[in-house]
Every structure is written in C-alpha cells, then in structure tokens.
Symmetry: C2
Subunit: 381 residues, 2 copies
C-alpha cells in the first residue's frame, strides 16, 4: 500500500451554513457567482447566497448545463476576465462545480481551456473556488476532478488538478427538499457507481478502504429503499454518503477502475443519457464481461453489501442484484430503453472512443477495443 | 447533523516515504528533530530521517517520555528558542507527536505553556510540525489534539488546536516490524477505545459515521486475532485503521463521550498504567454503569461488530465481549491487576479528578461525582 492523501476542503455541513460564505470567501475578493438553470431561485438558495455575499463585489453567470459545455463556460471566463473577478462561487450540483473548475483553470491559462481536457497541458495555476452543493451525487464539492463536454464535437472528457479543488464546500441538506425524485435517484446511483469504481477491482486486502466502501454502499442501498427527501436524516445521510464516495478516501492505496465512466460518458455525449443512467446501463454488462477478473471482489460485495449466500455463482448473483437495484430505482439498464438505433449505436460509440484515444480501460488496462465493443453490444441490445 | 470538517494533514503512506521529508519541510527551515527513547536508532528510522534532513539545518532533542512531561518538553522549547528553530519534526508515536504540539504552541507563547493544558488560554500561534509515525495508536499524526503530563503534580491533561495539527504525516508501516507485541496490542486497544468514544453514544442515525466506526472496529478485531507484525498487509491495515480512528472523520456530526479517557488519564498519572491499559480497565465498568444510556448503541455494536444474536441482554453481552477482547490481548481490566492499594485508590483518584475540575463527564455530561466514584469502585475492585 503506497499513497499520498489529503483533503483540504473545509466542509460546512448543516442547515443555515450558506451564511458562512460571507467569511469563507476572503474580504475584498471580486466574486463570480456561478449557477445552473435557475432552480436555486425557486428554493431560496439564491436569496441566501446573495445575502451572504452582501459584503463582496459579485457578478452572476447562470445557465451552466447538466453536462457543462466549454461553449457556455468560455462565456463565463470572458465575464470573469472582463470584470476582473478572482474568486468563483459555484452553487449547484456536480455540473456547476465541475464547470467552476474549468473556469478557474482556463482563466489563468493563455491558450484554449479545452487543452486541459485533451491532456495537452497540466493546470499550473487556478483561481480559488468555493462550492455550495445543492444535489448530492458527484462528490465534486471536495475533490479535484471535473468532467466537461464540447457540444460541437460531442466530446465528454475529464481533467483534474488539486489546484481546482474547492477551498470550502457548504452542504446544507435542507436544500434537497425540493429536488425531484429522478435527480435524487440519479444521485444515489452516481455515488454508488463511484464507490464501485474504487472497490470492485482486484483485492489488495485493504481492510479499511473495503469496510468504508461497503458501509457507503449499504447506506445508499438503505436510503434507496425509503426515498424520503422530506426526512431530515435521510437527506443528511445521502448528502454525506455521496461526498465520502468520491473524495479520495476510499481509493487511497487501492486500484481504481473507471471503465464504466469512460464508456458511459460516450452514451451521454452521443445520446444525451443522464450521467447516472449511462452508468446503470454500462456497469452490469461491463461486470459480466470482466467477471473472472472481478470475481473475488464481486463475491465480497455479494456477501457484505447484499448479504447473499455463498456459492459458486455468487459473483453472477451479485451482478444480478446490482442490476435489480438499478431497476428498482427506475434506472435503465439497456441503451435500447432510450430508443436508440441498435444497428448503428455500437459503431458510433466505438468511433467516439477511438477519437478520444481510449484504447485500454479498467484497473488492469485490459479492456481493449474488442472488449469495449463486446460491452457496448451487450448494453445496447 | 451540523458540523465543520477538514483534515489538511498530507499523508505520505508506504515504504520508503521517510525520504519525502526532504521536500515536505520547506527549504531553509531550521528544524528541531524530536524523538523518544532511542528505539529509532536501532530500527534504522533515525538514519533515514538524518539522510532526509541533509539539506536542512537541524538539531535533535531526544528523551520524550511515553507520557510526555512539560518538564522535559520545556527543555526542548529552550533548545528551540536558543537555536532559532522554526520547524518541528516529531519522529515517534503519539507521545512524541503530542509533545511536539506542546512545544509548537509553547514556543510562540510568552507565558507558561501549561496554561494551554489548564485551559487558561487558547493557542493563537504555533510553529509548523511534521510527523514520522513509528507506532500506530493515537492518531495524533493527523489530528489537532495532545495529552501532556506535569510530573511534579501528576496532572495529565489535554489541549487541542488546529494550529498544532501536523502539516504532514509520514506513515511507513515497515517501521513497525521491530515493535514489541505489548506496544502493538496497546495500539490496537487505544485505537479501539478512540472509536468507541465517538460511536458508543446515543444514536443520531448517522449511517456513514456508524458504518465507518463499525468497519474500523471489525478491522481491529480481525487484526488482533493474527497479531502478525511481520506481515505487510497486517501492518498496513493497522497503521491506517488507527489513523482513521481519530482524525475527526467518524466524529463529524455525532456526539462524543471521552469519559473513559478522562478517568483513565488519572490511572496513568497516579499509578503509571499504560495509556491503553487505563482504558481497558475503565471502559467495561463505565459501560456497565452507563448501560441504560448507551443500550441502543451497545446493541448495535453487538450485532454489527461482534455478530452477537439479538436478545434482551444484548448490551450486557456486548460489554462482556469487549472485556473478553481486551483480556484476549493480555490487557488488564481491573486496576487491582496492577497491585494498587484498593483501600486508598478510589479516594486518591477522586481527589485528582476534583483537582482537575472534572465534574460532569460523558456525552450527556451526566456522570457526576457519585457516578465517577461508582465507576472507579468497580474498576479498582
């Protein structure tokens, strides 16, 4: 076991914590207030943020999409530069916070910000970011990663840098009261798959990491059974579980996979599938394709998360249980549920992967082109 | 659930990581190299640290005791001030790291450093600390707390400040190969009780915190069964579990107790009982005394940590299981095992508590003087 780990994001968790922004953002900083489609104006979050920003100079930029695009974000960069803004306050879910990370890096870079996504250069400098989380799902509020889309070419890629990790994250679970069920279920599945990407890999006897991952999975499973976002503890537990699912803790010192995400991103980019649903479509089929490599950990998950009986087909039954879990949340588990053209979808998806240079995926880097095609053929059917 | 949480300590985990000190301590800083009784000279850690410090000006101070005393630490403060040292590198277990925290604060304070322990003033400034952990137990390497003893008056008190939390913590599990079994077992029990102090309290439906705490307890229980510090994964898991047991994570948003520690400290101060053993002596009796207040969580612990069958006396059986666990590690569970004078011990311990102003303990602040006496009478018998 060999790793470096730190998580410097200051978490402010609890009702009313939005007001702490006023002191968390240093005095005298000119602020870009970034948000999405306007739901924060309906649920009171916008007003709370404005009140907290009363001691600061700030400018707002709204309209960050569910899968944030460079086309939109570059407009925010222009506003930021034009007004001389030096601090970004992202108010929203993972998309807005991911968008803020792009803006923070692009604002300090002379070239095209998309270079970070294509891996042409590393982030060397970035503006500070603060986050107010309104939708628990991605963990972006306290991690260094972002996924950004280029609408023109339907590219959905990721980048990461400690420099763009939020300085603080305000997590007030009361803001979840007005979220639609579809978004809450998406959030549960997104967090669930994040955990799986860091847990359903080859075993390295990391007892703490495994125990934490299994505890988070059991928590999400239990929360999915009640789905009551009017209950205080339900909201609190979901918000904290989704955060812990992807903040570097459970991946410290253990292998990570992320193939489900890479394949899923292409479903979103080409067919507009919700991020979480792209994962529920890909993952069961990817697990079936990779079952021999993942058998030991799938068996462990079957025992410790689903309380399944031991047996030769335990790994197979664990995958079935995962699939049934997704279906119980009304998540699609086949791309055909989206009405795509089966005849052309696989070729189109493979062309995207090729364009993005995705030639070997998974914790063993062993899912090659033929493997990706097989997984897509299963998922599309 | 309402809390603030961050843990900025940079963890460097794995074999060979001591060499990273060379860059973790900023260039040009004059360093105080603080350590304990000299075991680091036998196991090679001293040489590794000296090699890593080759680019820095440094002065060493050795002889920090198992329960670090202000008498000793104040000498280190004098050395530090005399030589104009500005960075403290603590190499050892919790005692050395706790000692470094005292030195870091006392060096920046005009008055008597003991004022921090007596709560007469808060830490407003402190020198930076780096830690190289040689004994997993206290979690001090990435938390803000320290326990310090005044030998002259047999006072053992604690203080805490984010300002004295180590900037980095090097955790190389290979250094544990030469640790004696007694210290390893002490470490397991110390970490175990830390978790209990944050978990065996009244339930607040904090699913993630409970799952993490239970996962850590099961991990420690399993490690205690094999006790093989020649095994790589055994050492890695113990070192990481003890760290996660007390870094603020599992206590975020939930009640904490710490009464076992407060009572145990007096056993150490008066009778020289090893810290971990003071806890194994006090805790079962404290739990029996407080069983009605802690019944729900003890039952949960019985089910999820010891896999006990449900039943009316589950809480009682859980306490018995904890006591049997300590005894299986050759830990004492009565003060009389130490050959103390039963007739005078309780009065002496109560006088200490009174002198330290300890009038209400526990997560409900409901263990009063009579309660403390009852617990001591049970533990001393």
């Amino acid at each position: 076991m060999n790793f470096n780990y730190t998580n410097p994001t200051m978490i402010q968790f609890g009702e009313g914590k939005i007001s702490t922004i006023s002191t968390l953002i240093p005095a005298g900083q000119r602020v870009l207030f970034l948000y999405g489609g306007g739901s924060i104006k309906k649920n009171g979050v916008y007003d709370q943020v404005v009140a907290a920003l009363s001691g600061h100079q700030w400018f707002e930029f709204s309209g960050v999409e569910a899968n944030p695009t460079v086309e939109t974000l570059n407009k925010a960069v222009d506003l930021l530069k034009g007004e001389g803004l030096v601090y970004i306050l992202a108010v929203g879910g993972g998309s807005v916070i991911d968008g803020a990370k792009y803006i923070a890096a692009a604002a300090c870079y002379d070239g095209d910000g998309w270079d970070f996504l294509e891996g042409k250069c590393q982030v060397l400098k970035a503006l500070p970011i603060g986050a107010v989380l309104t939708l628990p799902a991605t963990g972006s509020e306290s991690n260094p990663n972002a996924v950004i889309t280029k609408a023109a070419t339907k590219d959905k890629l990721d980048f990461g840098s400690k420099l763009v990790q939020p300085r603080f994250a305000v997590m007030d679970p009361t803001v979840m009261k007005t979220l639609p069920q579809r978004q809450l279920m998406n959030g549960i599945v997104d967090a669930w798959v994040h955990i799986c990407e860091q847990y359903v890999t080859y075993p390295v006897k990391a007892m703490v990491q495994d125990a934490f991952a299994e505890g988070l999975l059991r928590t999400l499973k239990q929360l999915a059974e009640t789905r009551d976002n009017q209950d205080d503890t339900w909201r609190e537990n979901l918000m904290w579980a989704a955060n812990q699912a992807l903040n570097g803790l459970i991946s410290a010192g253990v292998p990570s996979d992320w193939a489900t995400h890479v394949l899923g991103h292409e479903l979103t980019a080409l067919y507009g599938v919700d991020h979480a649903r792209s994962l529920s479509i890909v993952q069961p089929w990817l697990f079936r394709h990779e079952i021999e490599k993942k058998r030991a950990k799938l068996e462990q998950m079957g025992r410790n998360v689903f309380a399944l009986d031991v047996g030769d087909d335990l790994a197979e039954r664990t995958i079935d249980a995962i699939e049934a879990f997704y279906q119980s949340l009304e998540m699609e588990t086949q791309l055909s549920d989206y009405g795509t053209d089966k005849a052309t979808a696989v070729d189109a998806l493979m062309a995207q992967l090729k364009a993005h240079g995705r030639d070997n995926l998974g914790e063993h880097q062993s899912i090659d082109e033929a493997g990706m095609r097989s997984i897509f053929e299963l998922a599309v059917a």
